[in-house]
Amino acid sequence: MTTATAENPNQTENWQPLCTRDDLVAQSGIAACLETPAGLVQLAIFYLPGQTPELYALDHHDPFSGANVIARGIVGDVAGEPVVASPIYKQHFRLRDGQCLEDEDMQLRTWRVVLDGARVMLRH
């Protein structure tokens, strides 16, 4: 068990396994999808080993270009705050809450995601 979270992924039913740690790319993102009653949601999962938290999940859909590409952006920080830069028009989104730094009206949704052993678990 590597998580230090209050929630226990094994006991709450709305935790869902996404993939394993090996599928992740350190310091970068991969895309995943999630069936919901409202349709398919595309997620961008970022893995920052050694940081707290070390996993983030945001919308994969880039509101500026309309393409599903956020997971392919470069991860970094702006004044210490972890962000991802959209690979198309380069806007920055805060990993913590999805807020776009260039446009206060734009915010990506975020989900909680944790490592449970080698499994990557998503709460939805």
């Binding site: 996404l18 993939c19 090996d22 599928d23 790319v25 350190a26 310091q27 970068s28 991969i30 895309a31 995943a32 999808c33 398919l40 595309q42 999962i45 920052l48 940081q51 859909h61 270009s65 309309g66 393409a67 599903n68 590409v69 392919r72 952006g73 470069i74 991860v75 970094g76 920080d77 702006v78 004044a79 210490g80 972890p82 962000v83 830069a85 690979p87 198309i88 380069k90 920055h92």
Partner: protein, 834 residues
């Protein structure tokens, strides 16, 4: 105007527009709100807003965005704000104001009532759908009416009229401008300039009718209104906006018996006092020495003088310059001083007109040619700032004043910020001189933001932003303050410094570099820059785990991302030479994966629309057929174009194709500060366009001529002749050294052309380094190049051999399906994004 006793006085300001609000700020700055009870009346429902940028309301800025202040600001300074409450009467005997809500006593009164749009007394102008353009409410009315209209007409082709026309155009109405005078903007431009302006505006789809006096407006047949002109011509339209000039809102003052100008306006003196010393006037309602100023900067200066007067000071209003620089409907127009040249006896003129580029520039100079009296610019305002400085500060003109308006040829005199005197006005909105800026810097402001905060420069119309920055930069530099050149917040180093650190310390990963010399996680600026440096030095595969998170998306996926998230595939075709077999393979792959196929400008073939998950398979097939990656995604060597050369062409003197292939294979995969393009031509006819490339090679009877530092793109630059009649080996040696010297010393994303222009010592220096080995670096540069060449490996071949590197080439980590949002349609027999 200070009173002797201590009882607080009542100060009332009528009008909460731009100038009225500026007056409040000026009073607060002087602490007046602590001794006087200040009350402000505004007829509009909105708190003072930025009327200058009113049109942005149609581009999505709302009233709150445009507001110049907040109710909290007024409350915090104990200023009573009565919005939506128009003053109807001034009772000077009782020193009281009357509004529908009550009576208010005053000791001092300021009129800041601005002006109203003049609607010519044409029968029918009162019809519904005949509107004006002055307030937020006016814009709401226009927007609302436009929703029910297809066509719109603006009456008046002046500055505001054209702005209104643009707004109608953006509201998707078929728009026309009707001007009474024979040309547009008669105040600012002459007939030649007006003609150009008309052409430019008509090109945008706005109909321009000049010399038209509207006689009356009646109900239309096909549209809501019909305008009837003096020559009985007709124009039908659904909506009419009048923009035929402004008139001062002086009715209150007239009724109160204050002195009013012949053509309106409250007469004021240099202290903004009206004929009743208890009453002042500022802004567009005020008439000073026979002039009304319809611009915000003079209004602000009046507000400053008035605030000073009200606080017992001596500051006076000394008139203001009406020079303007605008971008109307995307067209630059500038007018400085006596732009028409009709106010200065004996003045001489210079005129430059380019009807192809649609640029017109005119200078009005004193009879001895020493001083600039005025200038007019249409189509290009690039020289406005410099000209304005010559004009405003009476600077001596250069020997040949025409050089100031001729198209920029190298060596044209430019006026640098150091050439300006201390008294030079930098920001006319807030009346900030270069001297004030220097004082602010001396008082501790050490960057642009701090100077802005301290002086307010560039916080009005914003027109002075570029000039302010250059003055601040040059002053900071002159004081030995280092203007921060750090690459980003994570490294306090330039790219060049990082390059040396990496080389000297042998650092091979980003994490090691940031641990030792930086801070934080890095970002989308420093990561790709460092990735490029590491690759230039060691050329390890960019998809290795340590490097892959640093790459721009295109490098990560070794393909160029398109706007819908798919990718393009560009295999290398060295020198543009390709066998029929390989062409067939490209065709097959394109067909199999549904790719749009196009010949590029770089003599190769681009396959567009590849889905992420298809990229590995596509490349598997291409590699098998003998293709390699073309690095179309990378800041590295792109293509080496060639012409057919001596093998086929009757004029060719050398084998240009052979040389092009040799060069392309030698330098492929060299990562550099920006992309690199080469070309090789077989003779002086130059069919490969080598003189527009970073490296251009042209065959001669005796060998090769080498050209360097050219490019096409946004700012084309011809390459310069670097060395002549070289044999193959010398040619390659020079190119090795040239490229590595560029890689070592250029800024990030700086092409060879810009690098060369910034290189101290210029081409001669570059020749000395490369040809004469003046720095003794020759061997080292060649050796570094050899390392890169020895470590070359096709990135796609490498990635396909290591399955771990392909795990991101899936639309979803937890699902096999492709991204369902990528939708294509067919056009001209091929697929393209829907």
């Amino acid at each position: 105007m200070k009173t002797t006793d201590d009882t607080p006085q009542d100060l009332i300001i009528i009008g909460n527009g731009m100038v009225g609000h500026h007056l409040v700020e000026q009073l607060v700055e002087r602490g007046a709100h602590r001794h006087q009870r200040i009350r402000v009346f505004g007829e509009e429902r909105h708190l003072a807003y930025d009327r200058v940028h009113l049109s942005e309301y149609f581009k999505g800025r709302d009233a709150a965005d445009l507001a110049l202040s907040t109710a909290d600001y007024y409350a915090a300074h104990d200023i009573a704000l009565h919005l939506d409450e128009a003053v109807t009467t001034i009772d000077r005997d009782a020193r009281e104001l009357i509004t529908p809500q009550g009576r208010y006593a005053y000791d001092h009164l300021v009129l800041a009532t601005g002006s109203y749009p003049f609607v010519p007394p044409i029968p029918g102008s009162e019809r519904e759908g005949c509107l004006v353009y002055r307030t937020l409410d006016d814009l709401d009315a226009i927007r609302e009416a436009a929703g029910r209209a297809n066509t719109g007409v603006v009456v008046g082709g002046g500055l505001l009229g054209l702005e209104a026309a643009n707004a109608l155009r953006e509201l998707e109405l078929d728009t026309a401008v009707v001007e009474f005078a024979p040309r547009l903007m008669p105040m600012q431009v002459d007939s030649e300039g007006g003609e150009l302006l008309r052409e430019k505006i008509e090109a945008l789809g706005v109909q321009v009718l000049t010399d038209r006096a509207t006689q009356h407006i009646e109900a239309g047949e096909t549209s809501r209104h019909r305008m009837v002109f003096q020559d009985d011509k007709l124009l039908e339209t659904d909506l009419i906006v009048f923009s035929a000039g402004i008139r001062p809102r002086d009715q209150l003052a007239r009724d109160a018996g204050l002195e009013i100008g012949e053509r309106g306006g409250v007469v004021i003196d240099d202290h903004c006092l009206s004929s009743d010393p208890a009453i002042l006037a500022v802004g567009e309602v005020a008439l000073w020495r026979g002039s009304i100023f319809g611009l915000v900067a003079p209004g602000y200066q009046m507000a400053k003088a008035a605030a000073d007067t009200l606080c017992g000071g001596e500051l006076s209003f000394q008139g203001a310059d009406l020079s303007t620089k605008l971008k109307l409907l995307g067209v630059d127009v500038g007018a400085i001083g006596d732009a028409h040249g009709d106010r200065s006896p004996g003045a001489r003129q210079f005129r430059y007109c380019d009807q192809l580029k649609q640029e017109y520039r005119k200078l009005v100079v004193s009879s001895d040619g020493r001083k600039l009296l005025g200038a007019m610019l249409v189509g290009d305002n690039a020289s406005y700032d410099s000209l304005m400085q010559y004009y405003a500060n009476g600077l001596e003109l250069p020997e040949d004043p025409a050089s100031l308006i001729l198209p920029s040829v190298e060596g044209a005199p430019t006026l640098g910020p150091d050439a300006l005197p201390e008294t030079a006005s930098i920001c006319s909105c807030h009346n900030v001189t270069k001297g004030t800026i220097c004082e602010a810097i001396d008082a501790g402001c050490d960057d642009l933001g701090a100077v802005k905060d301290a002086t307010q420069a560039s916080t009005g119309c914003g027109g002075c932003a570029a000039l302010l920055k250059s003055v601040v930069d040059s002053e900071l530099e002159a004081r030995g303050v280092e203007v921060d050149q750090s690459i980003c917040e994570h490294f306090a180093h330039t790219r060049q410094e990082l390059y040396s650190i990496v080389r000297v310390e042998g650092i091979k990963t980003f994490s090691e570099l940031i641990d030792r010399h930086g801070q934080g996680l890095g970002c989308d600026i420093c990561k790709p820059a460092v990735a490029s440096i590491l690759a230039s030095c060691f050329n390890e595969p960019i998809t290795d785990a340590a490097h892959v998170p640093l790459q721009d998306t295109n490098d990560t996926f070794m393909a160029n991302m398109q706007k819908n998230g798919t990718y393009s595939v560009v295999p290398r075709v060295p020198g543009g030479e390709i066998t029929p077999d390989k062409l067939i393979v490209l065709g097959r792959v394109g067909e199999k994966y549904g790719l749009y196929t196009k010949i590029t400008g770089g003599q190769r073939i681009d396959l567009f629309g590849a889905r992420l998950e298809d990229l590995p398979n596509i490349w598997g097939e291409l590699l098998e057929a003998g293709f390699e990656t073309g690095h179309a995604y990378a800041k590295s060597l792109r293509t080496v174009k060639s012409c057919v050369g001596s093998t086929w062409c009757r004029y060719g003197v050398q084998d240009s194709v052979g040389m092009a292939i040799h060069l392309e294979n030698r330098y492929k995969g060299l990562r550099s500060p920006h992309k690199l393009k080469f070309a090789v031509s077989g003779c002086t006819r130059e069919c490969a366009e080598a003189q527009s490339k970073d490296v251009g090679v042209i065959a001669t009877e005796h060998g090769w001529n080498l050209y360097v530092c050219g490019n096409g793109g946004m700012r084309p630059r011809h390459a310069e002749l670097f060395a002549t009649d070289l044999d193959d080996d010398t040619l390659i040696r020079y190119i090795d050294r040239f490229l590595m010297f560029y890689v070592r010393t250029a800024d990030r994303l700086q092409r060879t052309s810009v690098w060369r222009e910034n290189l101290e010592g210029g081409l001669d220096y570059l020749k000395a380094v490369v040809i004469d080995d003046s720095l003794g670096l020759g061997d080292e540069l060649e050796h570094q190049m050899q390392t890169v060449i020895d470590n070359y490996e096709c990135e796609w071949a490498d990635a396909l051999s290591e399955p771990d590197k392909l795990k991101r080439f899936r639309s979803f980590v937890n699902d096999e399906r492709p991204d369902p949002d990528i939708i294509v349609t067919e056009e001209r027999g091929q697929l393209r994004p829907a």
